[in-house]
Amino acid sequence: MSHIGKSVIRHDGVQKVTGRAEYLADIKLNGMLYAKMLASPHAHARILRINTEKAKALPGVRAVLTGKDDNAMVGIYMVDRSALAQDKVRHWGEAVAAVAADTEAIAEEAVRLIEVEYEVLPIIFDAQEAIQPGAPQVHEQAESYDYIKGVFHPEPGRNIANRTKVRRGDVDEAFARADVVIEHTYEQPQVFHVPLEPHGTIVQWGAEDYVKIYSSTQSPFAVRDLFAHSFNLPRNKVEVIAPYVGGGFGGKSGIHLEPLVGMLSKRCGGRPVKLIPTREEECATLPSRQGMVSKVKTGAMRDGTIIAEEVEYLWVGGAYADYGVNISRAGAMTACGPYHIENVKADSVTVYTNHVFGTAYRGFGHPEVFFGIERQRDLLAKELGMDPVELRLKNLLMPGKETITGELITENTGRVDQCLKVVAEKLKVSEDYTAAERAEMEKTGKYRGKAAAVLQKSPAMPTWSASSAIIHMNEDGTVHITVGGVDFGQGTYTVLQQIASERLHIPIEKISMAPGVNTDMSPYDWQTVASRMTVLCGNALCDACDDLEAQLLEMGGVVLRAGKHELGLADEHVYVKQNPHQRVSYAQICMGYTYENGNAVGGPMIGRGKCIAQGLTNIDPETGQGKTALDWTYGAHAVEVEVDVRTGDVEVLHMASCMDVGRVMNEAMLNGQVVGGVLQGLGTTLSEAVYYDAEGNLLTRNLTDYKIPTFKDLPGNLDVSYIETPQLDGPYGARGVGEHPLISITAVIANAVANATGTEIYELPLSADKVRAALRQTK
């Protein structure tokens, strides 16, 4: 292999380091108008009156919209949100009205002139209270909403947007015979994605309903599909262009501002309208990651065998379901982590509340599930007096065992046990500190502790999720690849270039990919989410390369007067295997071959390829049994922390992470995913949290009070390693890994803090403030 596994540099580096890469905000169109939104100052309130007269009268204002106007209903799985609030607002910061004007300044001024009269309603903020019978409802008309029936299971009248159940064995019987039963509740706040580039969109709703959408999106085809669905348009009249995208982390999947801006453009006679939310709107008006309250009850035998687990996951979904309903479903599928447990009862519920609404976030529910599950494993080990690594090894899913949804684990699935052993060994997690070290800790008040935790994730996507790829040759035998997935920094396109280079025997510099996606020109791809690109898009490209290879061999055979089986590809040539000097270059045949007398045969070569998730099933609505995982990527983290018990500061001294990626495709980019994901996870663990006041007003409104890690917040060191258990249906054995590094970071740090201080913390973030509070309570 000459290219697979190499740290090939990224395809778009030059554009990005020169500032030439064009992001949404950098696009200007002739006649373009600027939009601004008016946000709700209340978390829950009835809209009594909106007066837009003054705004409309302002010179330069071209359109003012409120929920009373044409209003589109949107929602990727549960159609429960209107582009502008209708009748009532359900979270602080919800868009109530919008303006399009000649300049941003005029639009801003117009928004300030809109008068809204509200009747404040009691807020619904506690997920456990929200699901009680008789609780006030966030959505009074929930039963009328359209949703994917059979996949999601809302419970109208209970603030429940979806419930997913897993039932396996008999938990009651098992708890009754367990030697030990422990039960804990874990709480996690919402967190923000904080891509450095905010969302943004330009929509031009032209005559005869031809709609052109530029959007900073991970999901151009989903935007097209959902936009067309909202407005009942044929798909071929909606064109979606994703330029360079400045980070997404799940927050730019699905559909967001496009319908609102589309309506404004339509109102303005088809002039393009641009809307880029401010960072404040990015926090309040655009969705976040869901919060979560998880209750985990675990039954085990004295020897450490876990025989039963019952979990209730209440996801604080906020005002609208968005991806939340599918995240709770994904959470149910992974409810007990990568463990073999015979008796399981899981209820995973997305609860409507008056928080900013939740959406997909790197890890898609798994980081939230694993905080509780991997904390619970350490707590069980403590209860049993066992080494937590030992306890995990005793229960981990191994080939021949089944997951909680009845999926058989094979030799090819991946080895979570090896990941755990690697990191535990690297940081000597099971070794105690010496007496001298302990004495030093006592003296300084800085207590060190270690822990390890495992993780798993499958894509958690619809059973029919598909990708496609087109590869065409230029006159000189260079190659251009087109796909419908977005490379917003993760490096997919570079890996695709490596694959094509390997398959077609062409130097990588001769393989190009245009930045961005255009749904009118790019082949279909479901969405750039779920760590699925290397696998599904990579497989689609392999298929396209096969197609092109067949064409090269066919034309080569004509020219070389040989059968396909006698030919090979090397060095940008088709050659005769037995007599390699008999060969013809790609350049000579890729646009057709011309004989000396001028006759030409063949024609331009274009390879096409496709891939759809194989063998996935819907799950049984009562038991959750079924096959939902295309591939499981396993991993583990180990950490050593130092807790200053006087200040509550948690310092991460050492970390080790190991992932079973199947096959390392590009080591430097893989490291980029792991190092970046781990730091994002450290943010979730130590500082990031969305806070509200008692009235439901958002307090963390910007980056001044929502603190993400900086250059000064890196862990002491991070040792990254990989295991390569090939995924037989992945390209070159690879499986997805984009989201995984972030999973279980919260748990492993909290476990290490407990190991260091003896204090168990059940709530995130582990800010110095909260750690001190916990220490105060236990001392």
């Binding site: 300044a105 801003e108 300030r112 404040e280 006087r646 200040t647 509550g648 130590l686 500082s687 806070y691 307090l699 963390t700 001044t704 009070d705 603190k707 890690p709 900086t710 250059f711 000064k712 917040d713 800010s767 110095a768 403030d769 001190r772 509070a773 105060r776």
Partner: protein, 270 residues
């Protein structure tokens, strides 16, 4: 929409202060420009003070250290003057935001923003600094200990402008310690400055521990134990809980940081 004014002399500035009632002063702009963008302040005119040469000076005389209102925090840090008893100012400046903002933010701006947690303020208070102002009809000298009225509120009149911050000659050793939510740039959850004179007199000041920065003087380290000083100091502050820290955490950290400040400065004692 506001007009932009950039006077080149104090006299011109004074003229604008008189003629433009709804005027906002711009030094580093790191607070003002956010306020302008969010519509929190809506002046008719913004007056940039950085073109006035007198305001860009930093100088030390026998008696005082003067820092002009347009001097950036970074320029202060590089001036070489913030040593010895003024070391707390250096430490506070190093802790203020990050290099990009220190290249813009000014001491006078930090003072006039009057945030209870302003990083420079506790150090200014323990050093007994005052500001000198101009107004259409003159000017005055205002001790910082009488300057702050509440969160983002101060005693300046709307037609008054700070031209410099002045630190009297000081002796002893000073320090500033800050607690924040992350290790990188952040506002202070609590900030504590202390100045210990050679005679054992100790002054402490606290940021984000009340509606204004709080200055407590003067303790006598010759007669009071550290515990007594800490207890008295903690009785003198009144932190609240907010999005940045709980009340309890602020109380604990105020005490912890006070100890850290004392650890840093007390070796000066004879």
């Amino acid at each position: 929409m506001y007009a932009f004014l950039a006077p080149k002399t104090l006299e011109d500035a004074r003229g604008f202060l008189e003629s433009r009632p709804n005027l906002k002063l711009l030094a580093g702009g790191t607070d003002l420009i956010i306020g302008l963008r969010e519509g929190l302040v809506t002046p008719d005119a913004v007056m940039d003070v950085k073109q006035i040469p007198a305001l860009t000076q930093i100088r030390q005389t026998e008696d005082v250290l003067e820092i002009g209102a347009a001097v950036t925090v970074d320029e202060m840090l590089r001036s070489g003057y913030l040593s010895g008893p003024y070391h707390a100012l250096y430490e506070a400046g190093e802790e203020l935001a990050n290099i990009l903002l220190r290249n813009r933010a000014t001491l006078a701006g930090n003072i006039c923003n009057a945030s209870p947690g302003g990083d420079m303020l506790p150090a200014c208070l323990v050093l007994d600094a005052w500001v000198e102002t101009i107004r259409p009809d003159g000017g005055r000298r205002i001790p910082l200990r009488e300057f702050f009225m509440g969160p983002k509120r101060h005693v300046l009149a709307s037609d008054e402008m700070v031209v410099k911050t002045v630190f009297p000659r000081a002796a002893g050793k000073s320090a500033y310690r800050k607690k924040k939510r992350i290790r990188g740039h952040d506002l202070a959850q609590v900030g504590v400055a202390g100045l210990l004179g050679a005679d054992g007199a100790l002054t402490l000041a606290f940021g984000a521990c009340g509606p204004t920065p709080i200055c407590l003087d003067v303790f006598d380290t010759n007669t009071q134990s550290r515990a007594e000083i800490l207890d008295a100091a903690m009785n003198g502050i009144a932190p609240i809980g907010d999005v940045r820290a709980s009340k309890e955490h602020r109380q604990e950290m105020a005490r912890y940081l006070t100890e850290a400040v004392l650890d840093a400065i007390e070796e000066v004692r004879v």
